[in-house]
């Protein structure tokens, strides 16, 4: 276990390094306009541009620039090109919103997916099978921003059931306001997954129902409920939980960029969307690193959880 954690930590650092280099190169090797030009503004003179280049180090060799940038990321001094705000602080500001969205949606899709999957597995048959398949696939076939825009406009503005997007701080307007603002984003993001999860769970449950140990459990004289919960569900959930971890990591690590943008939640993802539109390298780099961090972290946690849930798995490699 200890060795496993160390190995994964080292792997994480390596992957993060690669991600940072790659992101940095994307914006520096691919020609996309000189940042100094942009920062200098419309009335700038060549002398001004040169001064900016000097101050920001754009005239240094690429690896120097990379090192300086990474140093600033680490020390929290990274400054945006576009409006000279502190990138790390901006990310910190966006974090609670991104977390609120990701955690809420992930819980929702997990709960709904499990409930629906279990229900359809128990009521297995041609008709429910087709229904769940189609529903699940409709869920993953919709562009999330499309669904979000429709929901926000028709349910939010037109029907007046929900606020017109935005985020409400718990500290300011209370929990209920916060929930009201989050319901639609949660539901929309979760729609992407509920169907898939219910389908995977349904397949797992049907497989598990045929396992010998379920037969054993029945032979023991356990109640059907106990058989379903302690044996069927407990074992069927293992792959779901790991899948959930990976998806949660992905959503946390930037997968919710569209949902955040369409509901104007101003989380980390939306910050990325805005920064990338301005070719503002520092926030793009930092958010990408942030996203990669969560993806790698959740991958590791998933492996640990997998071992915890299934004692047959050992964390040796």
């Amino acid at each position: 276990m200890g060795r496993f954690v160390v190995r994964r930590l080292v792997g994480m650092v390596v992957v993060m390094f690669a991600v940072s280099v790659l992101t940095f190169l994307i914006f520096n090797v691919i020609p996309n306009g000189d940042p100094a030009d942009r920062m200098a503004g419309k009335n700038s003179t060549p002398a001004q541009i040169a001064a900016i280049e000097r101050e920001w180090g754009f005239d240094e060799p690429l690896y120097e620039q990379y090192l300086t940038t990474m140093e600033k990321v680490a020390s929290g001094d990274l400054i945006s090109y576009a409006n000279q705000t502190n990138v790390v602080e901006e990310i910190k500001r966006g974090l609670p919103r991104t977390f609120a969205l990701a955690i809420g949606a992930a819980l929702l899709w997990f709960a709904m997916g499990t409930a629906l999957g279990l229900y359809t597995a128990v009521r297995a048959g041609r008709w429910t099978d087709t229904l769940v398949t189609v529903l699940a696939l409709i869920g993953i076939s919709m562009p999330v921003f499309w669904l979000g825009a429709l929901a926000s406009y028709y349910l939010g503005f037109k029907a007046g059931l929900f606020p017109n997007g935005g985020y409400s701080e718990i500290g300011q307007a209370g929990v209920w306001e916060w929930v009201k603002h989050m319901i639609l984003p949660w539901a929309v993001l979760a729609t992407l997954f509920i169907g898939v999860y219910s389908r995977v769970l349904r397949a797992n449950v049907l497989d598990t129902l045929n396992e010998d140990y379920v037969r054993t459990a029945r032979a023991k004289g356990l109640t059907e409920r106990r058989v379903m919960v302690h044996h069927v569900l407990r074992n069927s959930l293992i792959p779901i939980v790991t899948l959930w971890g990976l998806d949660f990591g992905m959503v946390l690590g930037g997968g919710a960029i569209l949902t955040e943008t369409v509901f104007d939640l101003q989380g980390v993802g939306q910050y990325f969307a805005e920064s990338v539109g301005q070719l503002d390298v520092p926030p793009v780099l930092a958010v990408t690193l942030f996203g990669a961090f969560f993806i790698v972290l959740l991958n590791t946690l998933v492996d640990i959880a997998y071992a915890a849930l299934d004692p047959r798995i050992r964390l040796s490699s």
Binding site: Q48, I49, N83, Y153, N164, L279
Partner: protein, 560 residues
């Protein structure tokens, strides 16, 4: 980034939005009613209360030395006052430069190089400290040292370039002499600059305390002399403008509201919806395009109004690259574009016109009849095709540049379609808005044609005409995108720029404007309209004051 989010960043990033005075001009039948209501606005309405306003984006900076966007300037003008400033008035009157912190207008030496001003007596900043004459030099130093977008305006001051080259923040600028005792300020220029009063009236020169650090102060904006002060700054989220009760400078407006809470709401549709539902009291940008119709229909004259700004929208046509090195080809474009269509692309928030100069500008003389056909009628496309044919440029490939904001993108696609229609092989090319000016302003791009617009930095025709001045062409960061280099225009502009009296040179600028249009140097098509949209708490009739430089005058806003 989705279109709706980008909102009006184009107005702010690409150029500074300052606005026009035709609200009272009444040459637009529809606007008459509003205009009357508005013109008697300024002094009524009750004081006190708190409102919430929505901006689509956080101002670039909350630091007068750096802010160079309309959002920034609008708030800045309530917090800071330069030595000279604009009158809190609507229309042409608002474009008048008047003494601000200075006792009077400057005393200008005979050769036009030395400006003498005196600070008013007993001025204090919002934190209670006294204003000193030397603070002014510090203010200008900050602008130069921080590489502000405005620093180029102040480089005509003697020693300014040396100061930048030195790179030492504390060094002296030889062209600014101040005396804290006599409150005298003397500014010496390297050569006469007829724009200096306007430049001194820009927010960059708004006086801040002499101990303000040489770095971006957005997080904690420096105190100023003005009816409001910044408070509760939440970067990228919002800030409050809180009334300074002690503010009392002769002839300067004091604020009516106690607190103006500025919130950043990135989604323009959300702003509109919230304003309709009275959750937001004033939205700074026009309503979302798809709600404009509803807002117009329901709230015009009670909560909503439109104003033409001092701006110009045009297609640049590159004189250095085929096919638009050919005058006939450029004429064909001017004939073929349908200004009615272009107005539709702005949701009607564009006043079609023939002139390059905006109607609210000194030197504007309506060109009538328009040599390229009536701006409000269908174009003569057949004639344009003929011209292309006779120019011998038919069939040539043209790349039409535009940026990725909704309107400029649609405009580029439109021109591309028109060019295809009259015999070219055109294709739009959409560039990120943030790099758009630098891209088309770089000679290496050889951009043939594309979207361009300009919002004034200050209300002076020279601030528009330099866009077609051959002398302003430069290889990078060029603003004369079409490389217009007409000797006659150059000569007129050169002469006019040496004369500080705007009344005397107005006719010259009118001539340059006419030459620009008749020479088909650009394809100008109109002037942008902006809007105010309120909740029903705001006293629309009495408290809407549309300023030609700063748009809505926040100091005049009040509750019913």
């Amino acid at each position: 980034m989705p279109g709706s989010l980008r909102g009006l960043i184009c107005l702010s990033l690409a150029s500074v939005a300052i606005s026009g005075l035709t609200a009272c001009g009444g040459d637009d039948g529809d606007a008459d009613a509003d205009a009357e209501a508005v013109s008697e606005a300024t002094n009524g309405g009750r004081t006190g209360g708190t409102i919430t306003t929505a901006y689509t984006s956080f101002p670039d900076y909350l630091d007068p030395a750096l802010s160079y966007t309309q959002e920034g300037w609008q708030s800045m003008w309530t917090v800071y006052t330069p030595l000279l400033t604009y009158k809190h008035a609507e229309g042409a009157e608002g474009a008048t430069v008047v003494p601000g912190l200075a006792e009077a207008m400057p005393d200008i030496s005979h050769d036009g190089r030395v400006y003498k001003l005196r600070l008013r007596e007993g001025l204090t900043y919002s934190d209670g400290t006294d204003v000193k004459a030397s603070d002014f030099e510090h203010t200008i130093k900050r602008v130069l040292n921080l590489q502000s977008g405005g620093s180029s305006f102040y480089q005509s001051i003697e020693g300014a370039e040396k100061y930048i080259d030195d790179g030492r923040a504390g060094a002296d600028i030889s062209g600014i002499e101040t005396s804290d005792e006599t409150r005298d300020i003397t500014i010496t220029l390297t050569e006469p600059d007829e724009r200096l009063p306007y430049i001194l009236a820009m927010n960059f020169a708004a006086v801040v305390p002499g101990d303000t650090p040489f770095e971006n102060q957005t997080k904690n904006p420096p105190p100023g002399v003005g009816p409001y002060k910044f408070d509760n700054v939440r970067i990228n989220r919002g800030y409050d403008l809180v009334k300074v009760p002690a503010f009392d400078v002769p002839d300067q407006a004091t604020g009516k509201l106690d607190t103006i809470n500025v919130e950043v709401v990135k989604n323009r549709r959300r702003q509109t919806q919230d304003t309709i539902q009275n959750k937001i009291d004033y939205m700074h940008d026009p309503p979302a395009p798809d709600q404009l119709r509803e807002v117009r229909a329901r709230y015009t004259g009670t909560r909503y109004a439109e104003f033409v700004t001092n701006s110009t929208y045009y297609y640049f046509l590159n004189h250095d690259v085929a096919p638009f090195d050919n005058a006939e080809a450029r004429e064909a474009v001017n004939i073929a574009i349908d200004k009615r269509s272009l107005a539709r692309l702005f949701g009607g928030l564009l006043e079609p016109g023939c002139n390059f100069l905006p109607p609210g500008m000194k030197g504007y003389e309506k060109i009538e009849p328009c040599p390229w056909g009536d701006p409000t009628a269908a174009p003569d496309v057949a004639k344009a095709r003929q011209l292309v044919e006779s120019s011998g440029t038919a069939g040539q490939a043209v790349t039409v540049f535009g940026n990725d904001e909704p309107e400029p993108k649609a405009l580029a696609e439109y021109l591309s379609d028109v060019l295809n229609d009259i015999g070219y092989k055109a294709r739009p090319r959409i560039i990120e808005a943030s790099v758009y000016p630098a891209t088309i302003g770089n000679h290496k791009t050889r951009a043939q044609a594309g979207f361009a617009n300009w919002f004034q930095d200050f209300p002076h025709p020279g601030n528009f005409m330099f866009l077609v001045d051959g002398d302003s062409i430069q290889p990078t960061n060029n603003q004369n995108f079409g490389n217009v280099n007409d000797p006659e225009i150059n000569e007129i502009l050169d002469a006019a720029s040496r004369n500080a009296d705007i009344e005397e040179v107005a006719d010259d600028y009118a001539r340059a404007d006419r030459l620009t249009v008749e020479g088909a140097h650009v394809a100008a098509y109109g002037h942008r309209e902006l809007t105010v949209f309120y909740s029903d708490r705001i006293d629309f009739e009495n408290c809407t004051s549309w300023h030609p430089v700063y748009n809505l005058d926040l100091t005049q806003l009040c509750l019913k």
